[in-house]
Symmetry: C2
Subunit: 231 residues, 2 copies
Amino acid sequence: MTSFLPRRREDSRLREAAWVARCVGDPQTTPLTEEDLTALASYLQPLEFERGAPVFRADEQPTGVWIVRSGMIELAAGRGRRKIVVQMLYTGSVDGDIELILGMPLPYSARAIETTRCLFLASESFEALMREHPTVARRWLSSVAARVARGQQRVMGLLGRSLVEQATRLLLDDQIDERVLLPQRTLAAMLGVQRPSLNKVLKDLEKRGLITLGYGRIEINDAKGLEALAR
Amino acid sequence: MTSFLPRRREDSRLREAAWVARCVGDPQTTPLTEEDLTALASYLQPLEFERGAPVFRADEQPTGVWIVRSGMIELAAGRGRRKIVVQMLYTGSVDGDIELILGMPLPYSARAIETTRCLFLASESFEALMREHPTVARRWLSSVAARVARGQQRVMGLLGRSLVEQATRLLLDDQIDERVLLPQRTLAAMLGVQRPSLNKVLKDLEKRGLITLGYGRIEINDAKGLEALAR
DNA sequence: GGAAGGATGTCATCTCGCTGACATTCTAGT
DNA sequence: ACTAGAATGTCAGCGAGATGACATCCTTCC
């Protein structure tokens, strides 16, 4: 967990802040002022996590907000066979703010599954930002709203669906550039299903030419074909 | 869909506004000013829905925000056997704001399953409120955050769990005063399972003395016993 | 009071996904 | 290059839910 931003210039911090602003909420509805950006920039703190390193543990109070700059973080609850992957964080994902706002402990653990760079907003910084910069708070609202919508989408994609439907939906939702760079074990945990069950489905999809399976990676060959299976 | 508030006094509107304020977000962290409340009061519009009446339809753009004053609303997607109940709205629930904020169509239909009174915030009113009253927007943020947390909780309660675990968790979560006033058909749709499957589980719970089944109602006799089964 | 529409209770059959186990293949790190 | 650890591929047996069907019971509304 070390600093990766050379503090050579204010400039670089501002660029990071502008990037965060693009990740949080919609620029259209609520543009941020120059002053909002500099405030955000002054609070942001770069962090780096090695592959496998824990970002935070379940049941702790969050110490701030994490924004993923690059890499991947796994949010998981439960142990061993009953482990569930609540969500994966990719570049641009934000986490920790919900629990901070609600004053509740984190309901899951987070660990980097590859080298991951984050921007970190300490809890006092986040609270100050929300208190003193209403437009930032307003903008944050749309970011959180998007997460509610995504959660509902997730529930609808899970309930009453066969494993084939669930799996294809998952591949389409978590694909980045036609690729899913996760082991089948993790994908199974995202659906709350056993690995052999998922493997059988994936093998079948591969036989139909829709995807190609690799070691810790899946290539999507026919997104439209998958879409048809996902309903 | 008619007005139920006699417009005898500003007073009554203010009371409604204060009530809404209690429903949305945490009074501790962000107290509202007198002026915020009067603005909210001036925008609120009472509506009444008869049992069975549609509140809105899926794929439409929301016309505003609904806040349930009394009664019950079912949010559902899909038809016939594949119908899924995304969520139930009870007294104090808020809906429509997420989609309004994101400018997206409603992903589910809503219908009153008993006579239901709502307070309605037309979209222009909601947007004006968010724009001109930062403390209200800040407060709304915590309300939306709570819904993210609830959604995550829901996903964790569904993934990789047996039907017994899912059902007991559902009963505990949707109980009001030790009662669940919903037909088994609806409860099954909330879990995405078939009614006979759920009935078998419920009958078993009844045999163990944990609950009592009625016509369109379930009484919880032993909440602690259920909690133990839900993990 | 009676009829219609819901809701519950139950069952036999079938399917899908779980379970545990084991072999094989790939990758990272020494 | 080699080794340990991790990931994939596969299988037989088992069990939980799905399915479709039907009888009965409760409410609501004429």
